[in-house]
């Protein structure tokens, strides 16, 4: 009884974080080392169509006779680059706007907050589809669309924290020694935001992965034959009755695993950095 409670208490946070990191790093390594790991090209026919998983083709082959394992590991590059670039985009814009809005206050703050809140409450995938549909489906536009829809997530959090920190004593002190606004924001407030930004980043990356996959599933991400997990799944829809389960199972599993990896990191970081829950 005693040791049981103790053990689990100790693994909280750290355990989630470690599990998440292992998943994410493994997937990143797989995609980075794709050329080394698999001898096959992801966009060339390597054998018959619809070969079930075997030693030679661990994830089987698809309709055009391409190796699914190769498509999955190379596909990781697409997903990761879209998601990382998109989250960096929303993180930098959201943080900058949130910082300025929270620090400057007044009309600017009210106006910005209002617009951000309006976007925030709107179903994100629907907005992302609308944006990519307008801009045209390609990798850059997918990044832009996903980047835009998550700006409010960072904005809200950064703005809230900035308001708190702004009121604290050491900012008063900094102002009294003559630091200007920009300096206060960058030198004094921003560093204090970093832990929270980190937590939001990892939770948000999980969201972004699912949104990217959703876009790809609906056909709004990269053009074929570039491999992309969500798109593989769209193709897989046709094979429910054919029994070609490997065309559905593996791509979706990868999406879910990667999103889960980031969510685990987020959960672990929340536990460690922030004793109170962030919901």
């Amino acid at each position: 009884m005693k040791s049981r409670i103790l053990g689990v208490f100790k693994m909280r946070g750290g355990g989630f974080l470690a599990a998440g990191l292992i998943i994410v790093i493994t997937i990143i390594l797989l995609s980075l080392l794709a050329d080394v790991i698999t001898p096959y090209s992801p966009i060339k026919r390597v054998g018959d169509s619809f070969i079930p998983p075997s030693w030679e083709h661990p994830f089987g082959t698809n309709k055009l006779g391409m190796d699914m394992f190769a498509r999955i590991v190379y596909g990781g590059r697409t997903v990761l680059s879209v998601v990382i670039l998109a989250t960096i985009l929303s993180m930098s814009i959201g943080t900058a706007l949130g910082l300025i809005s929270g620090y400057v206050g007044g009309k600017l703050d009210r106006g910005l907050s209002f617009i951000m809140d309006s976007i925030y409450v709107f179903p994100s995938l629907i907005l992302a589809i609308a944006i990519t549909a307008v801009l045209g489906p390609n990798i850059i536009n997918a990044i832009i669309a996903i980047g835009i829809i998550y700006i409010p997530t960072y904005f809200r959090m950064v703005r809230g924290q900035t308001l708190q920190i702004k009121a604290s004593l050491f900012i008063e002190a900094a102002r009294s020694i003559g630091a200007d606004s920009l300096r206060i924001m960058v030198k004094y407030i921003l560093p204090n935001l970093l832990p929270t930004i980190l937590v939001v980043f990892s939770m948000n990356a999980a969201d972004a992965i699912l949104t990217e996959a959703g876009l790809a599933f609906l056909g709004y991400s990269v053009p074929p034959p570039t491999p992309d997990w969500g798109f593989e799944l769209q193709v897989g829809v046709n094979y429910i009755l054919s029994g070609y389960w490997w065309l559905i199972f593996f791509p979706g599993l990868m999406v879910t695993l990667l999103a889960m990896g980031f969510a685990l990191i987020g959960e672990g970081l929340t536990d460690i950095l922030n004793p109170r829950e962030v919901t």
Partner: protein
């Protein structure tokens, strides 16, 4: 805290039991459809049940079952026979056509259908200017009712295939209930056809029932229910589970493959009239070079496309005029071989100044959903085939249908994938819209050849089939040499049905006639 878990475990067990019970009960519910009813499943959609605006394949099929025109196709052939008209005469200059109507024509509710109704309906189409109205306005100058049973057309110019045009929905008489000046999308009053609409729920179901006032032979089955599905898989499963009797358009290649050989299910396959092709831009570098276009044509392996992309549900096509239609000639096969002719392609590319180090860059466009979900595969395989020359690099791009059509017309695509369903069954419909410089602006190929234009003019006004055949053969030969368009494949039609269903007739016209099917 142990009390809670016991309660919740019991709760979970109860919920599971309820779900299991309900599921079991519902499995017992699966029952066979009634005898005098045949249920047909489709993944297509009915757009407007109004001939003034309907311009898609499936809606035309429905219209053909609830309405009829002056002429119609004889089932199983591409031969035109009389419909609600008994006979016709045509003036020597081919400009005045006079039709005599049958005497006993009535709409489903008993309202008589006279020559004035025919004229009213056609004029309505001309006035509303819906999508298919050009099928009337491009040809007909005026239409009048000489008496209750005589309709007379004055044409703008002689048209050799006018009888085939008359068999298209814009010429069908509609019930007076149709709003006279605007599109009436959900109007169920119908026309003079073997069936009438009993119930209509958009995207869910359409119930047709025998028209008691139809002049002709009674339908073999009293009631036809059409169910609309959203995916081929759902359609296939519905057939397998007995929810529907016939799975019609459109089963995906792998589902057709899966249904073949299933017990109690038959699959019928006939050649279709749909064709697919690549449009090349003759005004844009590098496809402005004839050598490049010829090289692209030579490198294609149509059999591989049919096998890998379509699991042999399509067949290779070596001309724009489909296999089996009069005047068809395998011009591309003659010129470039069955393909892939990589040696020829390479030497053509070398002549055009390209090499392994100086590669030809091609942008290939497709649209992801309009032609089914195999489109990305098609583009991928084409890329693979062209790149097999070692001297071409292909970038694939896509756009949604709306922007796609728009940009094609603007001529911004270098190479783009399109497809064609015929409006009327005549070689003209497979040549003029593509090759005639006055009619092909939508393709964006920028192709213009005076010789072709004049050959097509002669062919469309001539009434002699031998003359016309000869003219179309010449056009096809020029096509294979100039290559503004590379024909790829021709569709087959598949219909899967329970083996006790009889009377399914499919022909290149591609219209499924519901009134001929019955349960044997």
């Amino acid at each position: 805290m142990k009390g809670i878990s016991r309660i919740t475990i019991i709760g979970i067990i109860i919920v599971i039991l309820i779900i299991a019970g309900v599921a079991y009960y519902m499995m017992l519910q699966t029952q066979a459809p009634a005898k005098e009813v045949i249920v047909i499943g489709v993944t297509d959609k009915v757009t407007d049940i109004d001939p003034a605006n309907a311009y898609d394949f499936y809606t035309w099929e429905v219209l053909n079952n609830i309405m009829e025109g002056l002429t119609k196709y004889k089932p199983g052939t591409t031969e035109i026979t009389m419909g609600i008209a008994e006979s016709y005469t045509v003036s020597d200059d081919g400009l005045t056509w006079t039709f005599k109507l049958r005497k006993n024509l009535k709409f489903a509710d008993g309202t008589p259908c006279k020559a004035q109704d025919v004229v009213r309906s056609i004029k309505r189409v001309m006035e509303i200017q819906g999508d298919p109205s050009w099928l009337v306005t491009s040809f007909v100058d005026d239409v009048v009712a000489l008496d209750d049973y005589t309709v007379q057309f004055k044409l703008k110019h002689a048209v050799s295939y006018f009888l085939a045009l008359l068999a298209t929905p814009p010429y069908f008489p509609v019930h007076p209930n149709y709003k006279p000046h605007e599109i009436d999308s959900d109007q169920t009053a119908g026309g003079v056809g073997p069936y009438m609409i009993k119930e209509w729920k958009r995207n869910e179901l359409l119930v047709l029932e025998e028209n008691p006032n139809y002049y002709g032979e009674k339908p073999k089955t009293k009631r036809i229910v059409i169910k609309f599905y959203q995916s081929s898989s759902a359609l296939r499963l519905a057939l397998e589970s007995g929810e529907i009797d016939i799975a019609w358009r459109t089963l995906s290649p792998q589902d057709i493959e899966g249904l073949r050989g299933k017990k109690g299910i038959s699959v019928l396959e006939v050649p279709g009239a749909a064709i697919r092709y690549i449009i090349l831009n003759t005004q844009m570098d590098p496809t402005s070079s004839k050598l490049v276009r010829q090289a692209l044509a030579a490198a294609i392996d149509r059999k591989d496309i049919c096998k890998r992309v379509y699991l042999d549900t399509w067949v290779p096509l070596y001309s724009l005029i489909p296999n089996g239609m009069w005047s068809h000639e395998d011009v591309f096969k003659k010129k470039y071989g069955e393909g892939p002719n990589l040696d020829l392609a390479k030497s053509l590319l070398k002549q055009a100044g390209y090499s392994e180090s100086n590669k030809l860059h091609i942008e290939l466009w497709y649209t992801p959903t309009h032609y089914g979900d195999t489109e990305a595969d098609l583009a991928t395989v084409l890329k693979e085939q062209w790149e097999a020359t070692g001297m071409i690099e292909v970038t694939i791009k896509s756009e949604e249908w709306g922007a796609y059509v728009d940009d094609a017309r603007k001529g911004v695509f270098m190479a783009s994938l399109f497809g064609w369903y015929p409006d009327y069954i005549d070689p003209d419909d497979y040549t003029t819209p593509f090759l005639d410089s006055r009619a092909n602006s939508w393709t964006g190929s920028g192709y213009s050849n005076d010789e072709v234009d004049s050959l097509l003019d002669q062919a469309s006004t001539s009434t002699d089939i031998n003359t016309r055949t000869n003219l179309y053969k010449q056009v096809q030969t020029i096509l294979a040499d100039d290559v503004p368009i590379i024909p790829l494949i021709q569709g087959k039609l598949f219909i899967a049905y329970k083996s006790d269903i009889k009377g399914i007739v499919l022909d290149p016209v591609m219209l499924f006639r519901y009134y001929l099917v019955y349960r044997g």
